[in-house]
Amino acid sequence: MSKVKSPRLSRRNFIIGATAGTAAVGVGLYSLREKGVPPAPPPLPKVAAKKISYNDFSDIYREQWKWDKVVKGTHTRANCISACSWDVYVKDGIAWREEQAAIYEAPRPDVPDLNPRGCQKGACYTSLQLSEARVTHPMKRVGERGEGKWKRVSWNEALTDIADRLIDVAVEDGTECIIFDDGTTNAGYGPETAGDIRFQEAMQTTKIDSWGGVGDLPMGAIQTWGMYNCEGTADDWFRSDYIVIWVGNPVYTRIPEVHFMHEARYRGAKLVVIAPDMNASTVHADMWINIKPETDAALGLACAQVMIEEDLIDRDYVLQQTDLPMLVRKDKQRFLRHSDMKNGGRDNGVYLWDEKQGKAVLAPGCEGDGKGGRSTVLGKLKPALSGDFEVELADGSTVEVYTVYDRLVNQLNSEYRPEQSEKTTGINAKLIRRFAREMAAAPNAMIFASWGACKHYHSDLFQRAMILLMALTGNQGKPGSGVRIAAWWGMDGLDAVATLDLTLGEKLKMIPKAIRGLTPRDYENIFMDLSRKGANTPLMTFLYVHGGYKELWDKEELQDPALPHNLSHYMRESLDKDWMQVYPPEDRSPKAYIFTGVNPLRRWPASQVAREKFWPKLDLVVSVNFRMSTSTMYSDYVLPVAAYYEKYGIKYGQTYLPYIITSDKATEPLGDSKSDWEVFGLLSKRIAERAVERGISTVRGFKDQPLDLTKVYDHHTSGGKFNPEDPEDPIKLMDEIFANSPSVAANSGREALQMGAVPIVGPARPSLIYANYSDYEPTDTHWPHRDFYEKKVAWPTLTGRQQFMLDHPWYMDAGEDLPVHKDPPHAASKYPMRINGGHTRWSIHAIWRDHKMLLRLQRGEPVCFLSPDDCTPRGVENGDTVRIFNDLGSCEAMVKIAVSVRPGEVIMYHAWEPYQFKGWKGQQEPIAAPWKALHLAGGYSHLHYRMYYGGPSHAPRGAPCEVEKVS
C-alpha cells in the first residue's frame, strides 16, 4: 500500500475548533477545510496459495497454517502507548492467531521503515481473550466485596438495578456523586470509548482525571513549555547523533519502536543510558551513566555548568528560544514586569535588555507583549544574555536588573560544578564533563525520557534540567533532537466522540482570534475553558479530599522540608482560589463508582487506604471490563464487554507511528459480553426509561444545574442520531469521525477498518491532548516543536519562551524558581532500601499479567529484583520469597538476584494484580507516593490546572522499605 499523499495541510489555515480527542468535551466550531483526501488504495490483491502436499507427516504442519479469513485488529483499550496493526487470522469461527500487518512505509529513503512493530503481548491476545480471566456474563456480587461470590444475572436485571441505584444517587445527592473513571488513556479514539464518554456527559457525573494520577504528567515540561507534548515519529530517532535514554527504558516499553535507536547506532549515533540500574536498555548502549537514584537534576545542572563554562552553548538559540535573557529585578529576584515599569501596566509583560538601544524592551511573544503574545521574532532587537543594568520604574525609582542567565550561571557555578554534583550523583566529574561535551558537540542530540520521567517526587526538576540541556545546545525543535516524552495525533472528527460543545456566545467570542489564526497560547485558553465545563477532578486531589488519603499524605515525613507549610495548607489555598477543582464538592461524598478497564485497587498508591476508607463510602461499584481485575473483584456488578477483536474500534494514536490504527470485528463477542458502545448506550437508555417509570425527571447535575434524567438517552445518542443497539451503529460513528478528519487517509469507517493502518497525511487541530505544534509532512519524519523553532511562534508560557525561571511565590518559597536538585522527602527515611521500578516488557498495566502463556516465560509469580550485595547479608537466595515492608504496608515476592541492580534498590516492575500476592497485598501496599504541593499551583500564566494537564502527579518511586526473607 502506498501512502496517500494529499495537498499539504497547514495549521495556519485553521479557523477554529479544538477537538476533544479522547477528552470528554468537544468544541466543533467549524472548519473551512475540505476533506482533501483521495480514497484509500484497494487492499493488496489476494493470490492463490501454491498447492503443496507431500502426503506425508509434513502435511500436518501445512494444514495447521491455514485459515478462513483475515481481519485487521489491534488492542484498542489496552492503554498501550504503541499502536500496531495486526492481521487476525480466523479459523473455524475462532480468532486463532495474529500476525503483524506490517504495511508501513518509510517517509523518506534514508530512514528505515516502521515494520513490523508489535510485541509478544499483542502476539497472543487471541489466547488472552479466551483465557481464564475473561468475563463473559453479567454478574452480581452475592458475598462481601472481594470475596468472590457471584451470581450470574441477565443484562436486563443488571441494567435495571444499576440504573435504579444511579437514579437514587442522583435524586439524593446529585449526579456529581456518581464517579466515572476511564483511567487515563485506557480509551480509544472510536466507538469502544465514545459510549463511556457519552454516558458520562449525559449523566454529568464526576470524571476522574487520572493523567497525573498515574504519574504520567511531565510537570517539568508544563512548567517550562506550558505544554508537554514533545514526541514525533519513532523513525525520527534514527536521525539523532546522540541518543540519551534518561529515565525511560525503551527496550522494555517501546518494543515496536526501539529498533530505530539501535539502527541509529549503525548510522554512527552514540547511545547513552542514564539510569541507576543496568536496565535492559543498557544492553545496547555505548555508555551507561550509573546515577544515584533521584539525583538526575544534579547531573543535568552540572552538564549545564560545563556547557556554559566551556562556551559550548548555542547562543542564538538561547537568546531567541529561552527566557535566559529575560530581565530579573535583583531586589525581588522576580521578572521585571510591565506593571513595574508602567502604572497600570500588565503583570504578564516581561523584558529583555536590547543592547542596540541600551534599554529594557518588552519581550516579543511574552504573554503581555501587547500583541497577544504570538511571536518571538526578535527583529532588530539584540538581547543581552548577561549583564547588570539599571531601569527606572513607574514610580521613578531605579532598580538593578540582570538576566535569568546570570542568576542561573551564579547558581550553577556555586552549586553544580561537576565535582559538586559528583558527590550528589555518584558520577565521576570527568564522566560528567565527557557527557556534557559530547552532547554539546553532537549535531542532533535527543533525550528519550518517556513517561518514566514523571514518576519521582521531583520529576519536574529532572525535566527542567533535561530541557535546559536541550535548550542550551539548541536541540529542541529539530529532527532527531530534543526532549522526547510523548505526543498524540489529533483527528478533527473526534468531536463526534463526545457530545459537549462550546456555546454560540463562546464561539463568537473566539472569532477575532481565529481570523488571525489561533496560537498555542489561544488554544491553551480554550482548553482551560473546556476543562471547567465538566466535573473533571484530578485523581490525587480526589483521593485527598474523598478517598481517605488526607491523613497519609499530610504526614510530616512526606512533606518537602524546603516548604514552609505542609500539603494541607497548599491544598486549602488551591481550592479556595479555585486553582484546583474537586467534584463532588468537599461537603458531599461520592456514592457510586463506575470504572472501565482501570484497576484502582491495583494502581492507586497504598490501595489498602482506598479499600478501607473510600470503598465503604460507595453504595454502588460497577466494573465494566473484559477481564477479571482485582478492582473488579471488589465491585458489586460486573458488566462484561467484548474483547478487542470482538468489536469495532480506533486505537488512540501516539505519534511514534504516522498511522491511525483501527480494529475490525473478527468474531462475535464471547458469551453474553457486549461492545462498550452498546453497554453504555443500554445503561443510558435504561436510566431514562426508569426515570420515566419512577416519575423522576429533574435532578441536580453538574454544579447543581438541573438535569433531566428522562433525557439522558436522548443526549447520549445526540438526539437519536445513534442507536447503540444496532450492531452497525459503531460504524456510523466511525464514518463521522473519519469523514471529518482531513488529517488521515480514510473517508469512512469501513474504509478505515479495511486499511487497519490509516496513514496520517497532514496535521490536525490541536486538541486537549494533541498539540506538539509541528506540521506533519508525509515525506518526512515528524518531530515536535517546529512551530516554535522554525516559525518563532511563542511558547504558551508567561515569557513566550522555554521558561526556566518561575517566579510564582510558591516556587520561590520552595527554592524551585530556577531548576535545582532537591532530595525527595523520603531521603531521610529510617528504612535502608528504596522501591523502584518501571513498566515491564510483560504486561500493559495488569493486562497480560496473569496470562499463563506469558507467566511461563517469567517466574510464574510476582518477582522483585535485588542486588547480590543486599541479599547476602540478609541470607536471601535467588528464588526465595521476601517480604518488602515499611510502616505503611508490605507485600511478598520472589527474589531474582541480578548484578544489574544497584545495591539498595528493590526493583519491582509494573502492575502485578494484588490477587497474585499472598493475602492480595499487592506491590502498592508499601507505596505512600507523596506528591508535590507545588503541583496545585495556579494563578500564574502557564501554571494552572487544566484537564489532563497540570494536576498533581502520582510519584511512586523511591519508597523506603526493608526486605526480609520469608521463612
Binding site: 493488496l44 503443496i52 509434513s58 487470522y89 513490523p116 468472590g148 541480578a898
Partner: protein, 340 residues
C-alpha cells in the same frame, strides 16, 4: 551425510535483540498449541550469561567430538520448564476472598524457559548481559539426524531444513541427547520428538519464518545460504561478521549471530575504561569461538567509518532500511494468500 541442494539459513543480530520474546510467542501460537506441546518453545530467548533453556544446556554434551558422534545428557522436562497451570477459578469464583491467591498449581517450579531473565554476570556496575535467541540450527551435519536409529529425521533436499518425521519417530529420544544445542522437545502425548520446522509451510509459500517476520527488533535475516545478492551471504561469507554459536559442537549450524558489543566499562574511579570490553572476550569466545574477535573488529571499524561520514555496506545491511530486504526474497505478505 546427505547433502541438500540448497540450505536455508538465518542470521540474528544480537545488537538488536531486546529479549521481548515476540519470536517465542509467535512460534508458540503458530506451531505448539496442541495438547502435548504446552511446554514447548521451539524458539527461546535467554539472557546470557545464564543457564538458559534447558537449564545448563551448554554443559550437556552431544554433537561431534574428536571421538566422533556423541549422545549427551537428556534434557529433562523440568530443565526445559513445564507448562504451569493456575487456580484462576478458585481465586475469582471460589468465594475464598483474600485467602486464595493466584498460584502455580502442583509442585512449585525452580526453573523455566526464561527463569534467569535479566540477571546477567559480573559485578555492579561492571556487570553484563545480552539476549540470545535460539531456534533449531538446521545444521549441515545434524547430530540429531545422525543419531536417530530410525532415520526419522530428515534434512530436506530442497532447503536443508531438518524435520522430524513424526510417522517414523518412535520416541527413542536419541536425537534429544545428540543435539548439542538441546533444541528438541518430546511430545509426551504423541510420544514423538518435535522441534522447530523453520516454518517450512510458510517458506513454501514465499513467507518468511514467523519468528523472523514477527520480530519487532528486526533482528533476523532469512534466506538461502548461497544467495549472493541477499543479506545472509553478505553477512556470513562476505563480511564475515555473522558466526555460528558453539562451532566446536561440530554440527555446522545454519543459524549465525552478529555478536554483541556492550557499553563501556567503568574504571576504579568511576570514569570510563574504554580499553577493556564490558563483555569479556573470553566469554564471547566460549560462545562463538575465536572468530568472534574478528567479527567485533570488523563491526567496530565499519561503525567508526560511518561516524566519519563514510558509507558502509555492512552498516546499511544491519540497519535494514527496507524490512522486507531482510528475508532474502521470502517476503510475501501472508494475509494475501488465499487457500483453495
Amino acid at each position: 551425510m546427505a547433502n541438500s541442494k540448497r540450505q536455508m539459513a538465518m542470521v540474528m543480530d544480537l545488537n538488536k535483540c531486546i529479549g521481548c520474546q515476540t519470536c517465542t510467542v509467535a512460534c508458540k501460537t503458530l506451531w505448539t498449541r496442541e495438547e502435548g506441546m504446552e511446554a514447548m518453545h521451539w524458539n527461546t530467548v535467554n539472557t546470557m550469561p545464564g543457564a538458559g533453556t534447558p537449564k545448563n544446556w551448554e554443559d550437556m554434551g552431544g554433537g561431534f567430538t574428536d571421538a566422533g558422534a556423541q549422545l549427551g545428557e537428556m534434557p529433562t522436562t523440568k530443565a526445559f520448564g513445564e507448562a504451569w497451570n493456575y487456580n484462576h477459578k478458585e481465586v475469582f469464583y471460589g468465594g475464598k476472598g483474600q485467602s486464595a491467591h493466584l498460584e502455580i498449581q502442583g509442585e512449585k517450579p525452580d526453573w523455566g524457559p526464561n527463569w534467569d531473565e535479566d540477571e546477567g554476570a559480573g559485578e555492579f556496575p561492571n556487570g553484563y548481559f545480552f539476549y540470545l535467541p535460539r531456534i533449531c540450527n538446521h545444521c549441515t551435519h545434524p547430530a540429531c539426524k545422525e543419531a536417530c536409529p530410525r532415520q526419522a529425521i530428515e534434512k530436506r533436499e530442497q532447503d536443508g531444513i531438518v524435520v522430524v518425521n513424526e510417522e517414523r519417530c518412535r520416541g527413542y529420544r536419541f536425537c534429544m541427547e545428540a543435539c548439542p544445542y538441546k533444541k528438541i522437545y518430546f511430545n509426551h502425548q504423541k510420544k514423538v520428538s518435535q522441534k522447530c520446522i523453520f516454518c517450512f509451510p510458510r517458506l513454501e509459500q514465499g513467507v518468511a519464518n514467523a519468528c523472523a517476520r514477527q520480530c519487532p527488533g528486526r533482528v533476523r535475516f532469512v534466506g538461502y545460504r548461497d544467495d549472493q545478492d541477499a543479506p545472509i551471504y553478505k553477512l556470513v561469507d562476505k563480511w564475515k561478521v555473522a558466526i555460528p554459536l558453539h562451532p566446536e559442537y561440530g554440527t555446522d549450524p545454519n543459524v549465525f549471530y552478529v555478536p554483541p558489543f556492550g557499553a563501556a566499562r567503568f574504571d576504579a574511579d568511576g570514569d570510563l575504561d574504554e580499553e577493556t570490553p564490558r563483555i569479556p572476550d573470553e566469554y564471547l569466545i566460549s560462545l562463538f569461538g575465536k572468530d568472534v574477535l574478528s567479527s567485533l573488529e570488523i563491526l567496530k571499524a565499519e561503525r567508526a567509518r560511518v561516524q566519519q561520514g563514510e558509507k558502509s555496506e555492512l552498516m546499511d545491511l544491519l540497519i535494514a532500511y527496507k524490512w522486507k530486504d531482510m528475508f532474502g526474497g521470502f517476503d510475501t505478505d501472508p494475509q494475501t494468500l488465499k487457500w483453495t
